[in-house]
């Protein structure tokens, strides 16, 4: 008897849930946020989703609307498509530069509040307008969203730790000792290209670092494990180009504890590199030359690093998280009373790199 009731219930209870037929869904895979000139509707929202056309071709549709807020704009999108909108598959969220300068937090909040959106949605900036990037039709490239997602994952794997998702951005935003960063993309010659790193002061974009400067930024960030280093050096006779594959063996930031507020910080890094390219005439397998190269590169990193950090201090952005180490040497009340950005700006931050050449590759 009981089993009978049970079976009836099992059949009754399943299948009651809402039906969603995949052909009828607009599975949004990327959203873009921009500021618009329209005063009433200051937010420009661009969404893109894959569709299958009537003749069976895999295609995408991109819709651009203007609205007051992101969710209000999303309602507008609903009126512009015959599909049912679903945001559960959003992979990338792009922000235009202008909007990012005003602050990302309101839009991030509406992303993180929505339970259908995961916290692993990747974030990125568009050098100009996010809509340009999403609307661009690249030849032989189906979905811009997939392209961007793959691009971001690749950057992350290839020693640019730019993999910033909603969780990571909010984590660093709410952590008082570090500021978030985001990768920047731009449209160029019918292609989407990586073009540096956006630096944030709290949730506002302050400055975009060029890729060449960003290399040094990543060198000093603690998540870095390995990378490629290309530089022009002058060992003896003339300037030559050298390329190293390096591995970071040691990375730590030290803040000596002082009675009042810390005035000094040092970043220590130790690189072990293999020469993969050298265009000079010198014999790079010679240990004397190697030592020379080591000193030159070490000096170069110290110099460039110092310059970059000086710039970061002036802009009052702390993507390296120096303040976290400052915090960890202080008492709670002192830390709370501290004017964090001002003290960061006034600090003397040293870079102490140590470069060791491991080999000259498989050629003498």
């Amino acid at each position: 008897m009981n089993k009978f009731i049970l079976i009836i219930f099992i059949f009754l209870v399943t299948g009651c849930a809402e039906q969603r037929i995949i052909d009828d869904l607009a599975l949004i895979n990327a959203v873009g946020y921009d500021l618009s000139d329209n005063e009433k509707n200051p937010l420009k929202l661009t969404v893109t989703f894959p569709i299958v056309t009537k003749d069976g071709k895999y295609d995408r549709k991109t819709i651009m609307v203007e609205g007051k807020t992101s969710k209000e704009a999303r309602e507008q999108v609903r009126f512009k498509t015959n599909y049912k909108l679903e945001s559960g598959q959003v992979r990338v969220s792009l922000f235009g530069q202008e909007l990012a300068r005003e602050g990302l937090l309101p839009n991030l909040h509406s992303l993180v509040r929505d339970p259908s959106i995961g916290t692993r949605v990747k974030l990125a900036l568009a050098e100009d307008e996010a809509s340009d990037v999403l609307l661009l039709q690249i030849k032989n490239e189906g979905q811009n969203a997939t392209y961007l997602e793959q691009f971001l994952t690749k950057l992350n794997r290839e020693n640019f730790r730019t993999n910033y998702n909603i969780y990571q951005f909010l984590r660093d935003y709410y952590d008082e000792g570090i500021d978030p960063i985001l990768p920047v993309f731009k449209v160029e010659k019918n292609n989407i290209a990586y073009n540096g790193i956006g630096l944030f002061h709290e949730d506002k974009l302050i400055e975009i670092l060029k890729p060449s400067e960003a290399v040094y930024l990543f060198l000093f960030r603690e998540e870095m494990r390995q990378g490629v280093f290309v530089e022009q050096i002058d060992v003896g006779e003339e300037e030559a180009s050298i390329m190293l594959n390096y591995e970071i063996k040691n990375h730590h930031i030290e803040v000596p504890s002082t009675p009042n507020k810390p005035k000094e910080a040092s970043i220590y890094i130790e690189l072990i590199g293999d020469v993969v390219e050298y265009t000079g005439k010198e014999d790079v397998s010679d240990s004397k030359i190697q030592r020379k190269i080591e000193t030159i590169i070490t000096k170069k990193i110290n110099h460039e690093g110092k310059k970059l950090i000086g710039k970061l201090q002036e802009l009052q952005v702390d993507p390296l998280g120096i303040n976290r180490y400052v915090r960890n040497t202080m008492k709670y009340n002192e830390w709370k009373a501290l004017n964090k950005y001002q003290s960061y700006q006034d600090m003397n931050i040293n870079v102490e790199a140590n470069v060791i050449l491991n080999s000259s590759g498989k050629w003498k």
Binding site: C16, A17, E18, G88, P115, R120, D175, E176, R324, Y332
Partner: protein, 363 residues
């Protein structure tokens, strides 16, 4: 009574039973609650709370020891039934409501997070059918199924390993219990996350051997898991972020990515439902035992049906999660006081009856 004595619980089963009653729906918000209550590095506070629970468990064991292995009902049988009736009913109602509200809250979170358009009635019907199937068996059978459910859910603990790459000791900060703290109220709300162990007063005499150890082990399993989750959360989220995460554990689950599967939290969250189910089942079992003691003549099966029907109708009174939280606050406060006062009361009963007996013997 004779029915239950037939088979005894092994220490392992008893420990797992305690663990599964304890771990319930509060786990999802636990790291935030800990942060709100104790501030920075609040996970340390969890150790203190767990220690208090251990004291309570020792108290329960003490009742068992002093009474020389009698069950709770044998101890209170020296009172006439009409005296114990209001107390039993009060405890029964508190336990029943607690069991039900835990399930209602889980279903509501499930609805908000994953199944927006599914009516609550389906989740609850499913829950009540499963509860009924377990409740009509006696405790030994329930304990056996908890072992299966234990292995079914324990693997989720290892998912924490996925968060280690994002874990940072620097983020933990050296500050201990700083920031806005609310030790008393917050501490109490964390204590309620460990509630459930008090039901052991009904089955401590059924444990085959080493009852104290198995009770403490049960609580330790829960505490270690809670501590692990909370500790990882404190290094995974920044402190201010943790305070703003409604359900940090759901976010933790959601952050895990597998090579081919996306958004696995839909599945893992539902697996957690089994733990919630056990909490509900055991609280309702406690209710059943209490009412059965007061009214011996009611058939057990009717009683179970009655409790479930009442429970089912009550579960639709609170409309939103906020209401359920409000209910849960009051209910868990009562349940906490029951957890402490009941064993103390039983101890006093045993001791005074011993003194009376001795006096009677002397005279």
């Amino acid at each position: 009574m004779i029915m239950q004595m037939k088979e005894k619980l092994s220490p392992f089963q008893a420990s797992i039973l305690i663990y599964l009653i304890q771990s319930g729906v509060t786990l999802f918000s636990l790291p935030r609650l800990v942060a709100e209550a104790f501030g920075t590095n609040g996970w340390i506070g969890l150790i203190i709370i767990s220690f208090i629970v251990n004291i309570n468990l020792v108290l329960i064991w003490f009742v068992f020891k002093v009474s020389k292995g009698k069950s709770m009902f044998e101890i209170i049988s020296i009172f006439p039934k009409w005296i114990t009736l209001p107390f039993s009913l009060f405890i029964a109602v508190v336990w029943m409501l607690l069991g039900i509200m835990v399930m209602v809250k889980f279903s509501m979170i499930l609805k908000v997070l994953f199944y927006n358009n599914v009516s609550l009635i389906y989740f609850l019907s499913m829950g009540y059918i499963l509860t009924y199937l377990l409740l009509k068996k006696d405790l030994y059978q329930i304990a056996k199924s908890t072992v299966v459910l234990f292995y079914f859910t324990i693997w989720t603990v290892f998912l924490l390993a996925f968060h280690l790459p994002e874990f940072s000791f620097t983020r933990l900060t050296p500050f201990i219990f700083k920031g806005e703290t609310d030790m008393w109220k917050g501490g109490l709300s964390i204590f309620t996350a460990l509630l459930g162990y008090e039901l052991s007063i009904l089955f401590v005499h059924m444990i085959e051997r080493k009852p104290l150890r198995s009770l403490l082990v049960g609580n330790s399993i829960t505490s270690v898991i809670y501590l692990g989750v909370t500790f990882v959360s404190f290094g995974f989220f920044s402190f201010e972020q943790l305070l703003r995460e409604m359900y940090p554990v759901v976010t933790l689950l959601g952050y895990i990515s597998f090579p081919i599967l996306e958004r696995v939290e839909n599945f893992t969250f539902s697996v957690f439902g089994l733990k919630v189910l056990m909490t509900t089942v055991m609280y309702l079992w406690g209710t059943k035992e209490l009412i059965q003691y007061q009214f011996k003549r009611i058939k057990s099966n009717f009683l179970v049906m009655g409790i479930l029907i009442v429970g089912f109708s009550v579960s639709f009174i609170p409309k939103v999660i906020k209401d359920v939280d409000q209910w849960l606050t009051y209910i868990t406060y009562s349940a906490t006081s029951i957890a402490f006062l009941l064993p103390i009361f039983l101890l006093l009963t045993i001791l005074s009856s011993k003194i009376l007996n001795r006096k009677a013997a002397n005279e």
